[in-house]
């Protein structure tokens, strides 16, 4: 069961590899969806289930849906496929960088032992219950600032896509 967590971590790195070495954005979006699903599973098996759910709903359900639609708008109608020198070069470069990072930081950092919260039976209290509640008690100022920033972002996006014919939106 310990190696399951390691497997999910490796799966996340493979998803990042899939995104980085995509011949077309369609495959990149698949890699991003796979990476966020595997990342959610990884976080949940490590004991923080709330942020895993937050990632699922906000990231997968909100942002990635918008990303998929944007990719379908902005990508080319005849996508390239896997195979070829470009993809192979990207894969090799990514594996090289990941290997260097593993050797520099991985060997001396205590190995791959993962002690999850479910080590001795299922532990009912997850590890992030106290942290997010701070958002409402101590960090209420930052909470309000973040909400205000999100509201401002809405108006920023509306301003960016404004203009029927004078602006930059035209018939696609």
């Amino acid at each position: 069961m310990t190696y399951f967590v390691l497997f999910l971590g490796v799966g996340f790195v493979l998803a990042a590899l899939l995104v980085a070495s995509n011949p077309s954005p369609y495959y990149g979006v698949v890699g991003l969806v796979f990476g966020s699903v595997v990342g959610c599973g990884w976080l949940m098996s490590l004991g923080v289930s709330f942020v895993s759910l937050v990632l699922f709903m906000v990231y997968l359900g909100g942002m990635l849906v918008v990303f998929v639609y944007s990719v379908s708008l902005a990508a080319d109608p005849f996508p390239q496929i896997w195979g070829g020198w470009h993809t192979t070069g990207c894969v090799l470069g990514f594996v090289f960088v990941a290997g260097v990072g593993l050797i520099v930081w991985g060997w001396g950092g205590g190995g791959f032992g993962v002690g999850v919260v479910d080590n001795m039976g299922v532990f009912f209290s997850r590890l992030d219950f106290n942290g997010v509640a701070l958002f409402y008690s101590c960090g209420v100022g930052m909470f309000l600032v973040a909400g205000w920033g999100l509201l401002l972002t809405l108006f920023v996006v509306l301003e960016l896509v404004r203009g029927l014919s004078r602006g930059t939106i035209r018939a696609v």
């Binding site: 990149g28 990884w42 976080l43 990231y59 990303f67 944007s70 902005a74 701070l134 930052m142």
Partner: protein, 73 residues
């Protein structure tokens, strides 16, 4: 492709988010505020980037970086 760079940036943000989630577990601290804030602000950034992409793609007939001419709007 401009959107390929957006996808790679999103992957980086996702990996930073997971790292910010795992770090308080390993260090046994309670710093869980940073990842929620980071997720909120990364949503803002992604929406602004996507709006820029959507509005600049029809002008240049595609989002290939070779076609982007910064003198156009």
């Amino acid at each position: 492709h401009l959107i390929s760079s957006l996808l790679c940036l999103e992957t980086m943000i996702l990996s930073i988010y997971i790292a910010l989630s795992i770090w308080p577990i390993k260090k046994q601290t309670s710093a869980n505020l940073m990842k929620i804030l980071m997720l909120a602000f990364s949503a803002c950034k992604a929406s602004a980037r996507l709006a820029t992409l959507i509005t600049s793609t029809p002008t240049h007939a595609s989002d290939l970086l070779h076609n982007l001419n910064l003198l156009w709007c």
